[in-house]
Amino acid sequence: MNSKIKAPAIKFGNNIDTDVILPGKYLILVDPCELAKHALESLDTEFVKKAQKGVILVGGKNFGCGSSREQAPLALKYSGVKCVVAESFARIFFRNAINIGLPVIECKGISAAVETGDELAVDFEAGKVENVSNGKKFQVEKLPPFILEIVADCGLIKNLRRKMKK
């Protein structure tokens, strides 16, 4: 996976929980494309339409709090979300996103520096986030190499397969 991502931002607030990302009633759906149709519909019925060309989600504190449902990051990924940048993440969501190959970056101060529609550029490996529209730049703490490897492998399964072959 290319560690550099550029896309317009869609911004949400604090504590975006997994029930609003993907309500429990859809957890019986298996196909990720079916899940994606319902991503964030509780907050914005137009979200899926807006996301389909590729977007970077910007969140506040505690993004992805709540359930361990991996269907939440899966729904985002398949709806067109290329990366989530947030002030902080709920830990299970953070791990799940990495494990299914959805890059996530914790970036303090991002909420105040971005509005929906701004063009964002993210370099995952270098730990850089830039709002191209207003020139604001952030250097974030880089993730440990083994996590970057999982992202580069588009998720944990491919990463594990590669390691097990060695």
Partner: protein, 422 residues
């Protein structure tokens, strides 16, 4: 080191660990259920290994969409049963178990000092027994089923020190709601919450489970309580060999990121109002809230002790017209005991419906969903928008006593006030 650090150090084969350090831990038990399990099974197959790492350490539980409410759910259950059969794994099927977090300790899968991961966020419940237990996703559960290992960042620990005796009808649920109200839903994010103090020492296993269960609602990686004689009494008939509890005590000089103190002696019943678990108010400040549904159950509050309390409040009274009251014992074992004690009779006589052990309306997937504009007072753990059905419905979280009292009056009611009325 504190108890969380001791468990992680041992699991990683190290003498000591420090907060922030990343460790590769050996896992003792991994649990998956019917909504997260099928994804895990599918991911496991993609890894390309034939056999799981250890078939005695993997537990499958059907509890969310049970009995299957749709063909889709039935198909998911079928995947789980087939995987259990192929890999020779323990599975608690419909009628054989109940809610995963109740079944796991009841059936002896939880041991103090163990590292337990589950594809469910409320896996942290097992911290009540002095285990390090935390939720993971399906893909990671698949990886653990293949390798028996998982990475953890050793969390800094917040010590939650609690003293005082509860007033009548004020419960551990009220305490944890109060704590979350003070800490915030991200107040313990990435961290461990260790519950200590005289109130915790006196607390039952059921109450401890309620506390640890909701640790995740303030973002905690795990909630944990040192094992003691109460723990031993619950586990000794269920677990083959218990470890030395002394080795699981936090050292006197153990490091904590912070300590927060609570006194329950003057605490009144608490309510988490919509739509955030930290939107907590004492019931006297909630105002006049009419309800259409009252739910007593879930991995947070569906235990025998909870049902006893609710039955005590509801005995001889009738659920208010216009309110449906749902009672769901957390497991078959709890169901049977509640039946033997006559509790189910009390609920039925009061006009409540008693449903089979399962997660029920808690996550809005199966029975007891809410329509737009309706309100539910619930003993469960989350009140997010759309959690129990319609995105225009409201969920209030409270204790079994408060929910029972509210079912009788049709509005949010302080159980201590209900008793005084004739």
């Amino acid at each position: 080191m504190n108890i969380t650090e001791k468990i992680l150090a041992k699991a990683a084969g190290k003498k000591a660990v420090h907060p922030g350090e990343i460790v590769d831990a050996n896992v003792d038990v991994v649990m998956i259920h019917d909504l997260t399990g099928p994804l895990a099974v599918e991911a496991f197959k993609r890894i390309g290994v034939q056999k799981v790492w250890n078939n005695k350490k993997i537990v499958l539980i059907l509890d969310h969409q049970v009995p299957a409410e749709s063909v889709k759910a039935a198909e998911l259950h079928k995947i789980m049963r087939q995987f259990a059969k192929d890999q020779n794994l323990q599975i608690y099927d419909v009628g054989k178990g109940g809610i995963c977090h109740q079944v796991m300790p009841e059936k002896g899968h939880v041991t103090p000092g163990a590292v337990i991961v589950g594809a469910d966020s409320h896996t942290c419940t097992y911290g009540a027994f002095g285990a390090f237990a935390t939720g993971i996703g399906s893909t990671e559960a698949a990886a653990v089923m293949a390798t028996g290992k998982i990475w953890f960042k050793v969390p800094p620990t917040i010590k939650v020190n609690v003293k005082g005796n509860f007033q009548k009808y004020v419960t551990p649920k009220d305490l944890i709601l109060y704590v979350i109200g003070k800490m915030g839903v991200d107040g313990a994010i990435y961290k461990a919450a260790e519950f200590t103090g005289p109130t915790i020492k006196k607390m039952s296993i059921a109450g401890r489970m309620t506390l640890c269960n909701m640790a995740v609602e303030m973002g905690a990686k795990n909630g944990i309580i040192e094992p003691d004689e109460t723990t031993r009494k619950f586990l000794e008939t269920r677990v083959k060999a218990l470890p030395d509890f002394d080795a699981l005590k936090s050292d006197k000089d153990a490091a904590y990121e912070s300590t927060v103190e609570f006194d329950v002696s003057k605490m009144e019943p608490q309510v988490a109002c919509p739509s955030s678990v930290d939107n907590v108010k004492p019931i006297s400040e909630v105002g006049n809230v009419t309800i259409e549904q009252a739910f007593i159950g879930s991995c947070t509050n569906g235990r025998l002790e909870d049902l006893r309390l609710a039955a005590e409040v509801m005995k001889g009274k009738r659920v208010k017209d216009g309110v449906r009251a749902l009672v769901i014992p957390a497991s078959q074992e709890v169901w049977k005991q509640a039946d033997q004690e006559g509790l189910l009779q009390i609920f039925i006589d009061a006009g409540a419906i008693v449903c089979g052990s399962a997660c029920g309306p808690c996550l809005g997937g199966h029975i007891g969903l809410l329509a737009a504009g309706e309100s539910c007072v619930s003993t469960s753990n989350r009140n997010f928008i759309g959690r129990m059905g319609s995105t225009q419905a409201s969920v209030y979280l409270a204790s079994p006593a408060t929910v029972a009292a509210s079912a009788i009056t049709g509005k949010l009611t302080d159980p201590t006030k209900l008793e005084k009325k004739p």
